[in-house]
Symmetry: D2
Subunit: 345 residues, 4 copies
């Protein structure tokens, strides 16, 4: 921590700050500049609230030096990590596509979706069995029955399963059927939930909160990593800004930023990022071009009848076209996407 005193701060103020730092257990190194006295506080305490010092008399500014997270930081883990999802590697050269409907609605819908996305080159089937809905009057999901349906369809088509878990007591059921726990944007700081999925040791897809900074997102990842679970995949899905033309603002620059700060793999979800079907294609291409390690895309056999998020879901033929286009972009930056027939039924 570096503490900058006001220009001309009286000696008594400086000494009071030094004493306080000492009281908090920091070693203090003092240096006197042309205008400002600067105090270096030595001794890493990642959870120290620097505002304790900021409110003292004569203090102009306080800067934190050590990251509030360690395990997620690239400082201590310079090589990039991969997450092995039952044989599908996220974070390697292959850009991994996760696709499927927003909600699990029926056996037929999921079978059709799994067949379609597998044929097009997706590796992982997505779908929600428990749904967070902003209105209490909206469809809330099929629950365990939905999980079972999804897993059976995935197995038939050589896919893995990712699905959202909303509260600790759903963890056991989800663990039984899914390969990846998805933590939704609204739960990015649901700390009890993060700890519990951490304890399972299974892969976790951690979506960025709608108003989370990248630093806070990595701190949430730290909650999972701190449970000795290294299998965290980050997912950029759009942040809230003043612009209302799109549902959220997909922050693709988060991809190179995260890759510099952290070793964890990061994917993008353009469907939630833009919220309207006709913007998904260009933003999926852009996500891959920006360096995403994967994509999460919503598709549906009949989007107008989808029980949730139909308007941002692609028709199957649109998804085929998307896969064709993102595959070409991936090749242009020397990465790959699974070919269209690799895992078809």
């Amino acid at each position: 921590m570096v503490v900058v005193m006001n220009p001309g701060a009286p000696e008594a103020q400086i000494e009071a700050v030094v004493a306080r730092l000492d009281g908090y257990g920091f070693g203090v190194h003092r240096s006197t500049g042309a205008e400002h006295t600067v105090l270096g506080a030595i001794g890493a305490r990642p959870d120290f609230d620097v505002r304790h010092i900021k409110v003292l008399d004569g203090v102009k500014d306080v800067f934190r030096i050590s990251s509030p997270y360690k395990l997620a930081s690239r400082d201590w883990h310079p090589e990039r990590s991969t997450v092995d999802v039952d044989g599908v590697i996220v974070g390697g050269d292959e850009v991994i596509v996760m696709a499927g409907p927003c909600s699990v609605e029926s056996e037929e819908q999921i079978e059709a979706s799994a067949a379609s996305v597998a044929r097009a080159g997706a590796r992982i089937l997505r779908g929600g069995a428990y749904k967070p809905r902003s209105s209490p009057y909206a469809f809330q999901g099929l629950g365990v029955e939905g999980l079972r349906i999804m897993r059976e369809a995935a197995d038939r088509h050589g896919l893995k399963v990712v699905t959202e878990v909303m509260r600790p007591k759903q963890i056991d059921s989800v663990a039984k059927y899914a390969h990846i726990f998805q933590i939704g944007a609204r739960n990015m700081q649901n700390f009890p939930l993060l700890q519990e999925v951490g304890k399972t040791g299974m892969p976790v897809l951690l979506k960025r909160g709608m108003s989370a900074t990248i630093e806070e997102w990595l701190q949430s990842a730290e909650y999972i990593l701190a449970e000795d679970n290294p299998n965290v995949i980050l997912c950029e899905r759009g942040i809230r800004t003043y612009e209302t033309a799109t549902r959220n603002t997909l922050d693709l620059s988060a991809i190179p930023v995260v890759k510099k700060k952290s070793h964890l793999p990061i994917i993008a979800d353009p469907s939630h990022g833009v919220g309207l079907r006709d913007k998904v294609m260009p933003m999926a291409r852009a996500s891959v071009a920006a360096g995403a390690d994967g994509l999460m895309i919503e598709t549906h056999p009949n989007p107008p009848e989808a029980l949730s998020d139909g308007p941002q879901s692609l028709y199957f033929d649109q998804f085929d076209d998307l896969m064709d286009q993102v595959r070409r972009v991936a090749l242009a930056i020397d990465r790959t996407i699974a070919p269209a027939d690799l895992v078809a039924a």
Copy 2:
């Protein structure tokens, strides 16, 4: 729902939209303007996702007419509501002050806090026994023992208790000791939690999410109200903006906006809104002047040693001064705040 077609949209596009609306069960009323054909879709479906129509060919814009919430809306409940917290009325002429430390740390700390805030005119003791912390390495709260300590101190000083509940399985313990469940900003859209606290029928203080619109906030209130629990108190605590000089941006204009849209009482939390002790006083005054029905203020017997949020906690004498000032502002707008000796031990 009102659907605006593009200027010059061909008849076939218009008819396709009409057919789709019909398929969704809406009656359709068509009117032809100078430039645009406008379709009125009749038949309220509060949870209908208007993007279903927005993505159709030839559609320029879609506007929702009915609110996505009913019970929270002033449309159907024009007179203002009050919440009776075991005899303390929130939403009446008296501005109710809730004060105390961020976290419960010890019996001594809570006894000193309760005595101090009661003497100064606060009605409700605040304090966290379960703490949401962005870092996994920070203090996580005393749990049930903290709840017991808080209730005993409150009882000794004629105060009620408000405390945060973070997950459904904490509800029973919290219900045993507290008078008001606090739902923190991070959990504003934790829908299972909202439903569970709704079922208790007890008062709920619902903090605004850091990036929640007022509409979304009222929808979250609807989750609680829909469980037949009318006892919802809203709490503005600052939103995330690009400005970093304060921890959050306290959106005081939310107070008159909420009062127009909803009948529910609304209080303000300037401590979290600004995040630094020296800004709490002016913003507490401003909150009352803007029409807040209450204040939530952090105090601590020894802020530099507080285990959480010390830098935004007031010293006891600062709190006394704050109460004196906000009481004067309340009188200037023809409201009251309990006098400094009313409930003292």
Copy 3:
């Protein structure tokens, strides 16, 4: 400037950074912590772009120590400044109210407005002769004729005049009729304009840009102050956030923040902050309670017929009521507002 190196940064990287700092003319002070090497760069260069260092290999973070502004900073000017507007003092104990229509439309409109606001206790008449309009098809203002009308009405009622200047070539005309140049939010970073109004030595009301940080705002003030013009009044008028229930989000916490960082007086404009008449009253009260040195309020003899911003303009009787209420709030915090008959015609 403080430079923090990555943990374990090799000596060669550290030396390269030191050499670069040296090349930029900084003295360098090196200290080695438990995890990080920290370099203090000594020698204030307020305009140095710290990103030059941030992009170097091995650098984790760079913090600026000296403010990017000096003249606006309270560091060097601890006592608060006042601005003397031809005898009306802004920044003293009296809260100064500036009121009048958005646009000057006619002699009758201005005469009625001036009479009304003077009678109610305002000190300064506002009104736009040159209008920035987001649509090219909207009313653009009366120009010099509007300035003349406004000054004559102000003189008849003992008021001063504040009006917006949009481009350097309007300065001479405005200087002839007005007492205060208003720089609108859209021009807060129109640097040639800031320099030219600076050169006049006359009072300048500098509105905060819609997405300006407080730091950037103070840098814009510095442009004026650097022309040897100390007469700068800041005006908070709402910032752009994701919330759309109000036109902007009035950031009242900027008032205590500015008062700590700068010696300049600061007023608030709740009319633009909220954009709808019925929210102006509570936010005007809140502005005074937060410590504003003045208010800017839009009024109009007939708001529904106003050529601009009618919906946020108060009827005269609403303004009378507002003045009565803010006067009571001012007294509650030991400040004053001119009585309702002091300057009446």
Copy 4:
């Protein structure tokens, strides 16, 4: 305009609104739904301030139907426009790259830059002769001498010139040397400037304001188009959000949004969008993948010595590499970028 009345609004309120709409010259069409009476106001007035109706008693909501801009809208001009910059076509299949230093500093610097960017496949030389700087103490540009230097170098290497104009009185000089006027983000709503560049009939590159919505941006374009100048090129350069890891948040979804709403070509400026050299490459690739019609990239012969924006400027070899990569991405989406030797000296 569509006006939605409160549920149960009394007939007198409805009639008052109808009368007011009539007074403003609108035809009114009334329809009665299950809950709400809805009034359609017919007669397009693009500049009508809908808040006039929003503030009336009994009004729940008001929606604007006609766009506040016409000439920029795709509604009336469905085919996409191209801008002919002295033979270089912006908006066609070729993605046009504009590159060069932030500021013109010397003849040598510009000659080296022009040679380098031309050789790599750029078509247009960028560089600032007049610089908007947030600090009054920073380098302010070489003025006319800088313009002359830039044009001569561009001519030697077969490039066109784009440069910023900051105030109307610079227009004549800039017009003499440049092919495209650049309007900077800070001036997006400097309406006098927009009108004056509009009158020249020359191509204008209109950067998006830091907090401008896409609607406001298109309204600013309308200012130029309304002067009978169809040669407007839009440029996304990042918006201000709460995230501080990058200088701005490059909003690439604005590209597909603009392409749906408007016929104007749109390019992206990743250098300003991210503000740090190492993020420019991935975001340049992403911009092309998202459908940008061009790129604006900062390069410098010696970035550490650049007088402005050095940290976001690429070294020449980095720019060569960038051109190679974006060319591959362009091909992957069936577009082109000029080959590396096409226009070399």
